[in-house]
């Protein structure tokens, strides 16, 4: 009955099946096979990535909970913990943009309140194909509406994120969602089942046939056959989740629980197994007791269903009634579906008859673990070559005039204002948001304290495509830098690894190198990894996306009211550049947008210099010496300066920066000075009285710092090596930048 076809449908390889049979000492029945298939899927078992993830730094005095639980946690002082995690919902969002993105948000929120934390902020990192390509706008519209529909309804502000448009994501968009919550450090709850005989409760939405094989789907490439997998679509119910959220947090106040876990990927299977193995116990449930939405559901379907908004919890003996009563208050019915056992087994019964019986270990520790072969991809030899002089020489074409180049970059959807996106998100609910989207890192104050938390998601697939190791390091650096720019000290990081098919040695190599880079950067910048998520098989018809690690960094502001934004505050302030430009154009937005070239090596990164810079930023903010701070990333210092002017009602700037020598043509050198993306640079503004002190502080910190100009006027004027090469009306540039994304969406069905 279990033949090659059945195995293929379950995404299990022949040798993996032999492993199962060997372990069980018999042929599994279909229900058991289904359980194995989801638990051994890439999504749940991390079988390809685990050996590499193990190398990441996960410890530090600030870390209260590292990887392994539903989310990580760091100490943010005053007895409080910040609980946060990132999750991908790439495949579901491609199949059904609205519901895929919405249920992604629902899932990450559950991961946070499962830990006993009150979710207070959401971020999202999105990657799509070119906005000009047919279908992209529709996809973007659906994904953004889905994120908004869920987050707005449940009342958690979406305070930041990023959106990138690159052809490589055309057939395989990325939807990474991040949630952060606050808990009393002493109240953090784990997903454990222990205490033989203790009641195992099911609460939340009824179980339907939706999402069956979602976990295995998230572990398989797309192809024209993906259409058949469509019945897997799950529909989110934010109202149910809001009830669950409030009810669970109320129950957790009572200490009547031993453990609790949400049912995410692989639903009931994953939650029962993981809670059991974490508690060194077994869990026995009877599926006939599980609330069902549809009739005639088989044990197989019930165990594999990925219906949303469901929780599994274990109550302390004698406290059951109390738990049930609190859920009833919220019109939720906690149903006892089983109990904890001592035999370390996952035992599934139907009307008392055993239909599946598997040792937890077989599903967790014993799951396959692969050291997949790796080889450096051949394409690198070519794409890393970059002859800047060729840009102007070939076809004798002259470089575009620099003002035109600046406007082109500002109008490119990846750099342009994301207002059209974040305006659809409630980013103010809970009245904590003190750095609104568009001002850099998202910042929320913590009521009842003077403190605030800053957070940023960043990643650069193009850099990682050209050099996964350095690209990943740069992503960690940028996320931490964005946090530091707001005045917050970076505390810890989470990461979402979006890659192609790990069975290809070249992809595996990209993954390994990226993880190496993340590890090295996190160590140097003192932001340990507290958790994350891996999304592999991001390919369509054999074509992989750019390797895309998304990094989320969380930082702490001791004084919320000293938060710093990216915008210039007033005319007459002095503009200071921290760090040095080396005119590095490799993999830059400039090459991509202006020349249609994706080549070269990403900017160099000196982690010690980066760390000193970040500590300096925090010190300057703490002593209230900077009025604005904005890091130089996509588009270089020219774009950064423009963004500092935007949203200020037209405050301009007069700036003069040093020239660089990267090619023979003078135009190329000017372009490199303006648009080069050298790392570890921040544009800061300060009142004239503070300038000397700022420069002294920088010198003391060993951070290069130079006064490069002054705010004022209505033009953005930039001179390179003394000659004015940019002279732009801020209003005109801002109009272009603000409307660049919006214009793709007028006259579209929501």
């Amino acid at each position: 009955m279990i033949d090659a076809k059945v195995l293929e449908r379950h995404g299990l390889k022949a040798d993996e099946y032999e492993r199962i049979v060997a372990f069980m000492g018999r042929e599994p029945n279909l229900t058991e096979l289904g359980i194995f298939s989801v638990m051994w899927s890439e999504h749940c078992s991390y079988k390809s990535s685990r050996v590499h993830l193990k190398t990441l730094p996960t410890e530090g005095p600030q870390v209260l909970q590292g990887p392994g639980e539903n989310a990580g946690a760091v100490d943010v002082g005053e007895g409080l913990a910040a609980v946060f995690k990132i999750e991908s919902h790439n495949h579901p969002s491609f199949i059904e943009p609205y519901q895929g993105a919405a249920t992604g948000v629902g899932g990450i929120i559950r991961d946070i309140f499962t830990m006993g934390a009150r979710p207070i902020a959401l971020l999202n990192s999105l990657r799509f194909g070119s906005l000009d390509a047919p279908g992209t706008a529709r996809l973007v519209e659906g994904v953004v509406a889905g994120i908004a529909g869920y987050g707005n309804s449940i009342g958690i502000p979406t305070i930041g994120g990023e959106v990138v448009f690159e052809p490589s994501y055309a057939g395989n968009p990325l939807v990474n969602v991040f949630c952060l919550g606050i808990a009393k450090a002493s109240d953090i709850i784990k997903g454990v089942a222990s205490g033989v005989g203790n009641a195992v409760y099911y609460v939340g939405a009824k179980t339907g046939r939706d999402g069956i094989h979602g976990a295995t789907m998230a572990s398989a490439e797309f192809d024209e056959k993906s259409a058949e997998k469509r019945p897997a679509v799950q529909v989110g119910d934010p109202f149910m989740e809001k009830l669950l959220l409030e009810a669970c947090l109320e129950v957790m106040q009572t200490d009547a629980l031993i453990g609790i876990q949400d049912m995410g990927a692989a639903g009931l299977t994953c939650s029962t197994t993981e809670m059991g193995s974490r508690g060194g116990a077994g869990v026995e449930i009877d599926v006939s007791l599980v609330p069902q939405r549809e009739t005639g559901m088989t044990p197989y379907e019930i165990m594999l269903s990925e219906s949303q908004e469901r929780m599994l919890l274990v109550a302390k003996p004698g406290r059951e009634a109390e738990v049930e009563r609190i859920f009833e208050k919220w019109d939720l019915h906690a149903v006892k579906i089983g109990h904890v056992t001592s035999d370390g087994m996952l035992r599934v019964k139907e009307n008392g008859v055993v239909v599946a019986e598997i040792p937890n270990r077989a599903l967790t520790d014993e799951a396959p673990l692969y050291r997949r072969p790796m080889t450096e991809p051949g394409y690198l030899r070519d794409v890393t070559l970059l002859d800047l002089d060729a840009l102007s020489r070939d076809g004798q074409k002259a470089l575009p005039e620099q003002n035109a180049a600046l406007l082109a970059i500002l109008a490119s959807p990846t750099v342009a204002s994301k207002r059209w996106v974040y305006r659809q998100y409630d980013h103010m609910v809970r009245t904590n948001t003190i750095n609104l989207p568009g001002l850099g890192a998202g910042v929320v104050r913590i009521k009842g304290t003077d403190r605030a938390l800053a957070m940023s998601l960043d990643g650069n697939g193009r850099y990682c495509y050209l050099d996964p190791r350095r690209g990943a390091m740069l992503a960690v650096a940028e996320a931490a830098r964005n946090v530091a720019c707001s005045g917050a000290l970076p505390l810890a990081a989470t990461n979402c690894l979006n890659f192609g098919n790990p069975e290809r040695p070249a992809i595996m190599w990209q993954l390994a190198k990226a993880v190496e880079g993340i590890g090295e950067a996190c160590r140097a910048l003192n932001v340990p990894i507290t958790g994350g998520n891996v999304s592999l098989y991001n390919e369509t018809d054999g074509k992989a996306i750019y390797p895309t690690p998304t990094i989320g960094v969380v930082g702490l502001l001791e004084h919320a009211d000293r938060v710093v934004g990216r915008r210039f505050q007033e005319a007459g302030d002095v503009i200071i550049l921290l760090g040095e430009g080396r005119g590095e154009l490799g993999g830059s937005e400039y090459l991509n947008v202006v020349h249609g070239v994706v080549r070269g090596v990403p900017p160099a990164l000196n982690l010690d210099a980066e760390h000193s810079l970040q500590l300096l930023l925090v010190a300057l903010a703490t002593d209230q010496m900077m009025r604005s701070a904005h890091d130089c990333s996509d588009g270089g210092i020219a774009v950064t300066l423009a963004e500092c002017c935007f949203g200020t009602n037209g405050i301009g700037a007069e700036v003069s920066i040093a020239g660089v020598q990267v090619g023979r043509g003078p135009a190329v050198n000017v372009a490199a000075a303006l648009f080069g993306e050298s790392a570890s640079r921040v544009v800061v503004s300060a009142v004239p009285e503070d300038v000397t002190r700022v420069l002294e502080r920088a010198a003391a910190a060993g951070v290069p710092a130079a006064v490069i100009g002054q705010t004022g006027g209505s033009q953005l004027r930039i001179a390179v090596g003394g000659a004015i090469v940019i002279d732009q009306s801020v209003d005109d540039a801002e109009r272009l930048w603000s409307g660049a994304i919006e214009r793709y969406f007028v006259k579209r069905v929501a």
């Binding site: 006259k747 579209r748 069905v749 929501a750």
Partner: protein
């Protein structure tokens, strides 16, 4: 027994959804579509003895809950 309830905005009420859809269709070249009005559609599973009782029940539910009399009107079909 099943009742179908159609809730539509009164003709005097501007229908933003219908308008956006109509615009979208025109921009897609469907000029044959002169106008679009969007409404809501409900299928009610009723345990009622006969069509008449079903209709009365559906009407009561529509009046009280499914439609907002200020802006909407409804139609009921029973089978």
């Amino acid at each position: 027994m099943r009742a179908r309830v159609f809730v539509t905005l009164k003709p005097s009420v501007f229908d933003p959804q219908g308008k956006v859809i109509a615009d979208a269709l025109h921009s897609l070249g469907y000029d044959g579509v002169a106008d679009v009005r969007q409404g809501k559609y409900f299928e009610l599973e009723l345990s009622a003895a006969d069509a008449a009782t079903a209709r009365t029940l559906a009407a009561e539910v529509a009046d009280k809950v499914l439609a907002n009399p200020v802006i909407e009107s409804y139609r009921i079909e029973v089978d």
